[in-house]
């Protein structure tokens, strides 16, 4: 007799079988610690109260669970956007041109740490860091070099830049002007997500509250002047890399998003003026199904937050658009070729989850910046997924899977619980000031580490199936000369520019910083008069103060 429901099946069919042949583990869990049943059925969705029209709907329609575009990748596949930058502006320009020749469809700039934190390449604290994890951009001259021969009206550019986001946007606008491209023609994204820097990534400069003002200054300026620019990319990626679970990634990202929206509303902006330009950035980790469910849950959560919490009217304000990157933290130094397979599985989850844009990591990145060959393989991974695998031919292919829908519901519910806790603390900024997210992520990271060490969590080539092997060859090493050349370029710039104009522009910036006026036009004026990044940030440091990190672990 066939079982009449799941309960009966578990009892009469599954249990006797498991008694004879025990399961591999006592309990199965996702990366977020959600318990996984052996099987999902329509009854699970019924128990969760899933309503197709209310909770899923059709793609391109509220609540956008199945996708924000009606046909997702059938019109155009996702943007293949490999994050890159190192050495100098000239060297990175070469890598950009190479990537565009290889069929990449958007650019993504990695800046070095001094640029991200607001120090010029010749600053004492920049020693050893110039050009290491990205390209140094100290002035308009560097940005012009970076885009030499790349038409800035044709290419869309994403910039991973936060504390100094408005500056780099101004460098970009000014460099485009030099090419004869006006600010309403350029398109791209600045990450501009300072809150997660305090939680995880660490490239903050000023304290949270004045930094929030700088974020919203960009929203305002772009709403009026740079209509095709994504003014923020609210990022779960780095918090997840720091150890957060998928649930925490969703919760902390949206709690931050809520703080930005509230800040903008408080500054007098209309939700539908800036809402459509908010974008997001998530990781694609190893647990394929949990990740797909996470992306779907994210779309539904954002739509509801914008409509129900903030009263947005324009559907575009409710549509979650996001970039995805595979998980750097999952890459292993051991048996590095295995990373290709990890990246492929992760990239697949991003696509099955309906990502708008994707970066696939490279096999050698547990040890260095990726070599040109490795980056090409990453791009080829994307192209094979897009054009050979068939996964891009249908919208939301896993929608309706009992398991996926069930996970989507559970992730959403758990993340909403967390957001409630942050609301109760007074919102994301207050929670950050109390160290809440840092503690939660630290606990999750430690638990993960213990699981790997105890062997409870398998990492192939690290704690199981290990081999002795020679060290990987052909790693990219940033040429030390590059930093010296950069410092010389900077010295030349300081000598050649009009000092009177520099001083006047910086003085005006300081005045504006002390008022509530938008800082972006004053920054742009500084940039066009060849003030350097470090000089501009020094003004802000003087007015806003400097953020001190925490010592807790």
């Amino acid at each position: 007799m066939p079982s009449k429901d799941k309960k009966q099946w578990l009892r009469d069919t599954l249990e006797p079988s498991v008694k004879k042949f025990p399961e591999r583990r006592e309990k199965f869990q996702t990366d977020s610690g959600l318990n996984i049943d052996p099987l999902y059925s329509p009854e699970d969705l019924q128990a969760q109260g899933l309503d197709y029209d209310k909770d899923l709907g059709y793609p391109g329609e509220y609540p956008y669970t199945r996708g924000v575009q009606p046909n997702t990748y059938r019109g155009r596949v996702w943007t293949m956007r490999q994050y890159s930058g190192y050495g100098s502006a000239a060297e990175t320009n070469e890598r950009f041109r190479y990537l565009l020749e290889q069929g990449q469809t958007g650019l993504s700039i990695a800046f070095d740490l001094p640029t991200q934190i607001g120090y010029d390449s010749d600053h004492l604290l920049a020693k050893g860091e110039v050009g290491k994890v990205g390209v140094p951009i100290c002035s308009l001259v560097d940005m012009e070099t970076l885009f030499e021969g790349i038409p800035m009206d044709k290419v869309s550019t994403s910039m991973t830049i936060n504390a100094t986001a408005s500056l780099l946007l101004c460098f970009y606008i000014a460099a485009a002007r030099k090419q004869g491209v006006s600010q309403d023609q350029i398109s791209g994204t600045v990450q501009n997500d300072i809150l997660k820097e305090y939680i995880a990534r660490g490239t903050y400069a000023y304290p949270p509250r004045p930094s929030m003002r700088l974020v919203v200054d960009v929203f305002k300026y772009c709403a009026e002047n740079v209509p095709r620019w994504n003014t923020i990319s609210i990022s779960g990626y780095h918090m997840r890399e720091a150890g957060a679970t998928a649930v925490q990634e969703l919760a902390f990202t949206f709690a931050n998003a809520i703080a930005y929206v509230q800040q903008a509303l408080d500054a007098g902006l209309d939700i539908d003026d800036f809402g459509p330009r908010l974008s997001f950035f998530f990781v694609a980790q190893n647990n394929l199904f949990e990740e797909v469910a996470k992306f779907r849950a994210a779309r539904r959560m954002w739509a509801r937050i914008m409509k129900e919490r903030f009263g947005a009217k324009d559907p575009r304000s409710m549509m979650l658009r996001f970039h995805t990157q595979t998980a750097g933290v999952s890459l292993t130094a051991q048996q590095p070729d295995n990373n290709l397979i990890r990246c492929t599985i992760q990239a697949l989850s991003a696509i099955l989850g309906g990502s708008q844009s994707l970066h696939v990591n490279s096999r050698d990145e547990a040890l260095a910046l990726p070599s040109e060959d490795s980056v090409q393989l990453s791009l080829r991974t994307q192209q094979i997924l897009a054009f050979e695998s068939g996964v891009s031919d249908v919208v939301d292919p896993l929608g309706g899977s009992y398991y996926i829908e069930s996970l989507t519901n559970e992730l959403e519910a758990k993340a909403l619980d967390y957001i409630k806790r942050i609301d109760d603390l007074g919102g994301s900024v207050e929670a950050i000031e109390q160290g809440f997210q840092v503690r939660e992520i630290g606990d999750a990271a430690y638990k993960h580490g213990q699981e790997v060490e105890s062997g409870d969590r398998t990492i192939v080539g690290v704690n199981r199936f290990t081999t002795e092997e020679p060290p990987i060859e052909g790693l990219l090493r940033v040429d030390e000369e590059a930093a010296l050349i950069q410092i010389e370029r900077l010295a030349k710039l300081r000598k050649d520019r009009d000092d009177g104009k520099v001083k006047a522009a910086l003085k005006e910036l300081e005045r504006v910083a002390r008022t509530e006026e938008n800082t972006v036009p004053a920054i742009l004026e500084c940039v066009e008069n060849y003030c350097t990044l470090g000089e501009i940030c020094q003004i802000f440091r003087g007015v806003f103060g400097e953020h001190q990190g925490a010592f807790t672990f």
């Binding site: 050893g128 150890g243 130094a333 910046l369 630290g442």
Partner: protein, 138 residues
């Protein structure tokens, strides 16, 4: 330095501008769980700040984590400062993203051990306990 009734004291530090502190914090916790007294500096520490903290806290060990590739510029400066301050007896270990070819040069400048990706916290605890014990015997 180390006498028998005092727990091993370790300064866990993040030199340079690199903000990736997941590894440093996990190791700090593991060392604490193993009974050591751990002081974590937080991120963005200059060589002077690190050696000063090490002196003030009278540590037996400094553990540093660098993932930005700046190790060959930053670490010699720290080792030089330790020497200048007569703190050669402090055991220095580093971890992070350090290419194989850089390991020997780092050891040549007095760094006791370089822990690569995939090292277990258990083996780091063991290494520190052994090395501190051996040094106390010298």
């Amino acid at each position: 330095m180390q006498d028998n009734d005092r727990p091993i004291r370790v300064l866990v530090a993040k030199p340079g501008l690199d903000g990736h502190d997941r590894g440093a914090k996990v190791i700090a916790r593991a060392l604490r769980d193993a009974g050591m007294e751990v002081i974590y500096t937080g991120i963005r520490q200059s060589p002077q700040m690190i050696t000063q903290a090490a002196a003030q806290e009278d540590v037996d060990v400094i553990g540093m984590s660098i993932l930005s590739g700046a190790h060959l510029e930053i670490l010699p400066e720290i080792m030089g400062l330790l020497r200048d301050q007569g703190m050669d007896d402090v055991i220095v270990v580093v971890g992070g993203i350090i290419p194989e070819v850089d390991r020997q040069p780092l050891k040549d400048m007095g760094i006791s051990e370089v822990f690569g990706p995939g090292t277990t916290t258990g083996s780091i605890v063991e290494y520190i306990q052994e090395t501190v014990k051996n040094r106390a015997r010298d």
